[in-house]
C-alpha cells in the first residue's frame, strides 16, 4: 500500500481515497460528488489531450482536471 496523488494514477488503476486536501468551492464540489476518504476510485480514461481524467466512483463516471486531481490522495496497491 502506498499513497499517491490521483493525477499520477494510471488508466484502469484503482485505489481508495485517503485524503482530500482542498477546501473552498473546489473542495465542496469534490466532496459532494462522493470523493471522500474511504471511497474507491478507478481511472477509466483520459481526454484526448491527457487532461481531464475520467473516473469511476460509486458506480458512476466523473471527470475532473489534473490540477483538481492533485488535491486528492489515493491509497493504491
Amino acid at each position: 500500500m502506498k499513497k499517491i496523488s490521483l493525477r499520477t494514477m494510471l488508466k484502469k488503476q484503482s485505489g481508495t481515497i485517503s485524503a482530500v486536501k482542498v477546501g473552498g468551492d473546489l473542495g465542496r464540489r469534490i466532496r459532494e460528488m462522493g470523493l471522500v476518504p474511504g471511497t474507491t476510485v478507478s481511472v477509466i480514461g483520459r481526454a484526448p489531450l491527457n487532461d481531464p481524467v475520467s473516473l469511476r466512483v460509486m458506480g458512476f463516471n466523473l471527470t475532473l482536471r489534473n490540477s483538481e486531481a492533485d488535491y486528492i490522495e489515493v491509497e493504491v496497491n
Binding site: V20, G59, F60, R65, E68
Partner: protein, 739 residues
C-alpha cells in the same frame, strides 16, 4: 372531495427528474424565472385521485449549500412553500444521490424517495431493498421507471397521503464527537434566543454555521446579532480545534460523515451488487471510441458540424414560409395603404420588425432541438470533457465550443441562438465570457457583407480570404475571452468536476417540450423589445425628412424629365416598370427617374438622424478610412448586419441593393474615391468585431439577466473593432503609401 397540494421535485442532475416532470405534467407546464436570478422555474399541474398537484421542478443539484444560485433557489423554495418533496434518485447510482436526500431530511421537509431507473439498476446487477431503506430513513420509498411511467401512480399516492403534514421526520446524524458537542451547544443558544426557529430547524442552523453558510449566517445575524456572535464564536473554536488536531475543516468532516452514514446504511442489507461496481458498462465501451485520442475529436467535429448543418439547413424551409408570409404582408400593405409615413412605418418598421423577430424562430427551434439531443443523450458532457484542455487556457469551459459553432464558428451561423446555447454552461464566469465573445463569429448576416467587400477589394483568392476570416474570428473570440477573464469577468476558473452521465436515448416528449419552451421564451421575452427597437431604428433612418425646398428640387427635376418625353412613354413606364419589355425611350425614362429617386434617397438618408450621426462620426472614423456613407451603413447594421449592404447602396445612390446580388455595389465601391484594399480590410475587420446586432444585444441582456452586459457588449465590441480598424488603416497606409 377535491383538493390541491404543492409538490416539489428535487434531485441530482441526470437523475431523470425532468423526465418524471414531463411524464406527470405533460404539456401543462409553465416556465419562468425565480425572482432576481437567471435560474429557470418550471411549474406544471397534474391531477391524481381528485387531487390537483402543482408540481415544481427544482433545479437539479448535488447538494443544498448556498454556493450556487440553483441550490439557494431550491432551498428557499422548500422552506418558503413547504411542499411535499419528491426526491428523485438514480437507483443505479444511489450512494451519491442519497447525499442530497440526507440534506433534504435535515431541513425536515416531508420527503418521498422515488427510486428511478430501477430497471437499469437491475441490469447492472444492483438489488435494492426499498422497504428496508424506507424503514431506516423513515420516509416512503417508491421504485419507479419515470421514462415508461411505471410506479408513477404509486408515487403520486404517496405524495397525496398525509398531505396536511408539512413536517418530515427529524433525522439526527452524528458528525463525530467534536462537531456533535458543538452542535448541541449551539442548538441550546439557538432555541433559547429563538433565532429563526420559526423557519428552520435549530440543529440545521447550527450545522450551517459550521459549514460557513453565508446566507443563513447573515439572516441570523440580522435577526439577533448577539446570539450570532455567540454562535460564530463556537464555530470558530471548532474550526480552530479541527484544523489543529486533524488538519481539516468542519465542512469537510460533515461531508465525510454524511457519506460515511450513507455507506453504512446501504451496506447494511439494503443494497447488494451482483457484479463488481467498477466493471465497464455499455456506455463506457461507447466512450472508448467516442472520447479516444484521435477518433474521438474527429467524431466530435463531425457531430458539431452535423448540429450546425441540421440547424441551418432544416430551418431554411420554415424560414422561407415566414419570409413569403411577411413579404405577402408588406406587399398587401404597400397596395392597400396610401403612400406616406404610416405606410413606411408599417411596412419597414413593424412588419419588418415582427418579421425580424419571427425570422429567427425556426433557427432557434432547430438549434435547441439539436442541442437537446446532444444534452439528453449525454454527449454534451463528452464535448466539454474533450475540449476543456484547450478552452481552459482562455478562461472558457469545454462547452463554450457549442456556442461558438452555432454563432458562426463554421461561417454562417447566428449569434442569437449562439448566445442562448451558452445556457448549457453551469459555471458563471465562463458562461459570461462565452456569451460576450460569441458574437465575434461570422454569422450568416455578416457573410454577404464580407463577401461584398472581398469581391470589391480582394478579387483573387476569395475563398481563402473567407477561410482566413473564420480563423480570425475564432482567434479574436478566444483572445478577447482571455482578456475579459483577466479583467472584467475575473475570478478563479470554476471547478470542472463534472458527472459523465451514461449515454441514453433521449425521449421525443422531452425534446419537444424543451424545444417548445425555449423557443416560446425567445418570442415572448425578446420579441417585444426587438419590435420597439426596430421601430426606433426606422425612425432614426427616416426623420427628419428633407426640407420642403429640397424635395421640391427633386420633384422639379422629375417634372422636367417627364416633360421631355411624350405621354405614350409615361403610360408605358407607369404600367410596366422595368418588368416588361419596354421601348428604348421608356427604358431610358425609367432609368433616369430611378436615378433621381436614388439621389433623393441618398440626400434623405444623409439628412436623417442616422445620417447626421454617420457624418458626425467621421471625426473618429476618418482614422480608419471610413466616410459618412460607411458610417450610416454601420449604424444601420446594428438593426441587422445585412442592412449594411442596402444602406451602402442607398448612400451610393444605387437604390435598394439586394443581398443576393451585390455585383454593381462591389464595382461602385472598388472605383469610389477614398476606397482601397486597406480601407476594405479595415472595414471587413470592423464589421466582424463591432457591436452585435440589437437582437443579439437583447438576448445577451436577457440571458445574463442584466442590461448592463448588453450595453457593455455594444460599447466594448465597437471600441475593440475601432482599435483594430484604425490600426490596420494607419499601418496599411503607411506601408503601402496609399492615400
Amino acid at each position: 372531495m377535491s383538493m390541491a397540494i404543492d409538490v416539489a421535485l428535487a434531485g441530482n442532475p441526470n437523475s431523470g427528474k425532468t423526465t418524471l416532470f414531463n411524464k406527470l405534467t405533460g404539456a401543462r407546464q409553465h416556465v419562468g424565472n425565480y425572482p432576481g436570478v437567471t435560474v429557470e422555474k418550471k411549474e406544471g399541474r397534474c391531477r391524481h385521485n381528485n387531487t390537483t398537484l402543482t408540481i415544481t421542478d427544482l433545479p437539479g443539484t448535488y447538494s443544498l449549500t448556498a454556493f450556487t444560485e440553483e441550490e439557494v433557489v431550491a432551498r428557499d423554495f422548500l422552506i418558503n412553500t413547504k411542499p411535499r418533496v419528491v426526491n428523485i434518485t438514480d437507483a443505479s447510482n444511489l450512494e451519491r444521490n442519497l447525499y442530497l436526500t440526507l440534506q433534504l431530511l435535515e431541513i425536515e421537509v416531508p420527503v418521498i424517495i422515488a427510486l428511478n431507473m430501477i430497471d437499469v439498476a437491475k441490469q447492472r446487477g444492483i438489488q435494492i431493498d426499498a422497504k428496508e431503506l424506507s424503514r431506516q430513513l423513515g420516509v416512503p420509498v417508491v421504485p419507479i421507471i419515470a421514462r415508461s411511467g411505471q410506479g408513477n401512480a404509486e408515487l403520486l399516492d404517496e405524495a397525496i397521503k398525509n398531505a396536511e403534514n408539512k413536517q418530515g421526520p427529524a433525522i439526527s446524524l452524528s458528525y463525530g464527537e467534536d462537531i456533535d458537542l458543538a452542535l448541541n451547544e449551539m442548538e441550546v443558544v439557538i432555541k433559547e434566543n429563538q433565532v429563526m426557529t420559526g423557519t428552520y430547524p435549530a440543529r440545521w442552523i447550527a450545522l450551517k454555521y459550521l459549514e460557513n453558510d453565508q446566507q443563513i449566517i447573515d439572516k441570523c445575524k440580522s435577526e439577533n446579532s448577539l446570539s450570532d456572535e455567540q454562535l460564530q464564536k463556537i464555530a470558530a473554536r471548532v474550526e480552530k480545534h479541527l484544523q489543529a488536531t486533524l488538519g481539516t475543516t468542519p465542512e469537510a468532516i460533515i461531508a465525510d460523515y454524511r457519506y460515511g452514514y450513507i455507506k453504512s446504511l446501504l451496506h447494511n442489507k439494503i443494497i447488494t451488487h451482483q457484479y463488481d461496481p467498477n466493471r465497464l458498462y455499455v456506455s463506457d465501451k461507447i466512450d472508448t471510441v467516442m472520447t479516444s485520442r484521435i477518433v474521438g475529436p474527429m467524431i466530435m467535429l463531425a457531430i458539431l458540424f452535423g448540429l450546425y448543418k441540421f440547424t441551418f439547413t432544416f430551418s431554411e424551409v420554415p424560414i422561407g414560409w415566414f419570409e413569403s408570409f411577411f413579404s405577402f404582408l408588406s406587399d398587401s400593405a404597400n397596395i392597400l395603404l396610401p403612400d406616406g409615413y404610416l405606410k413606411s412605418l408599417i411596412v419597414s418598421g413593424i412588419i419588418g420588425g415582427v418579421g425580424g423577430v419571427l425570422g429567427f424562430v425556426p433557427i432557434i427551434a432547430f438549434m435547441f432541438f439539436g442541442i437537446a439531443v446532444l444534452e439528453d443523450s449525454g454527449y454534451l458532457a463528452r464535448v466539454a470533457y474533450m475540449m476543456d484542455r484547450i478552452l481552459r487556457v482562455f478562461g472558457l469551459h469545454g462547452s463554450s465550443v457549442m456556442s461558438y459553432i452555432v454563432s458562426g464558428g463554421i461561417a454562417g451561423g447566428c449569434a442569437v441562438p449562439g448566445v442562448m446555447a451558452a445556457r448549457t454552461l453551469r459555471s458563471k464566469n465562463e458562461r459570461l465570457a462565452t456569451i460576450l465573445t460569441t458574437p465575434f463569429m461570422n454569422c450568416g448576416a455578416k457573410l454577404p457583407v464580407l463577401a461584398l467587400l472581398i469581391a470589391a477589394f480582394f478579387e483573387t483568392g476569395q475563398s481563402q480570404m473567407m477561410f482566413a476570416l473564420t480563423l480570425i474570428a475564432w482567434l479574436g473570440a478566444v483572445l478577447v475571452a482571455k482578456f475579459l477573464r483577466m479583467t472584467i469577468v475575473k475570478g478563479e476558473s470554476t471547478p470542472f468536476v463534472m458527472e459523465l452521465p451514461p449515454y441514453r436515448m433521449p425521449t421525443l416528449q422531452g425534446l419537444l417540450i424543451h424545444t417548445w419552451e425555449r423557443t416560446w421564451q425567445y418570442v415572448k421575452k425578446a420579441g417585444t423589445v426587438i419590435l420597439a427597437i426596430s421601430v426606433l431604428i426606422w425612425t432614426m433612418m427616416t426623420f427628419p425628412e428633407l426640407p420642403a425646398h429640397q424635395k421640391q428640387t427633386f420633384e422639379n427635376q422629375r417634372q422636367e424629365l417627364l416633360a421631355s418625353y411624350p405621354s405614350s412613354v409615361h403610360n408605358e413606364v407607369e404600367k410596366g416598370g422595368a418588368t416588361q419589355q419596354l421601348s428604348p425611350e421608356a427604358l431610358q425614362l425609367y432609368g433616369a427617374l430611378r436615378s433621381i429617386d436614388n439621389m433623393e434617397a441618398e440626400k434623405a438618408l444623409k439628412n436623417s438622424v442616422a445620417g447626421r450621426l454617420g457624418t458626425s462620426l467621421e471625426v473618429v472614423s476618418k482614422y480608419a478610412g471610413f466616410d459618412w456613407r460607411t458610417n450610416i451603413a454601420l449604424v444601420g447594421g446594428f438593426a441587422a448586419k445585412e442592412i449594411i449592404i442596402s444602406t451602402l447602396g442607398t448612400a451610393y445612390s444605387l437604390g435598394e441593393v439586394d443581398t443576393e446580388n451585390t455585383g454593381s455595389l462591389a464595382k461602385t465601391l472598388a472605383k469610389a474615391p477614398g476606397w482601397n484594399k486597406v480601407v476594405g480590410l479595415a472595414l471587413i475587420l470592423f464589421v466582424m468585431f463591432y457591436a452585435p446586432c440589437f437582437v443579439t444585444v437583447v438576448c445577451i441582456a436577457k440571458e445574463t439577466g442584466s442590461w448592463k452586459w448588453g450595453l457593455f457588449s455594444m460599447a466594448f465590441n465597437t471600441f475593440f473593432a475601432s482599435t483594430i480598424a484604425i490600426t490596420v488603416y494607419q499601418v496599411g497606409t503607411m506601408l503601402y503609401g496609399i492615400q
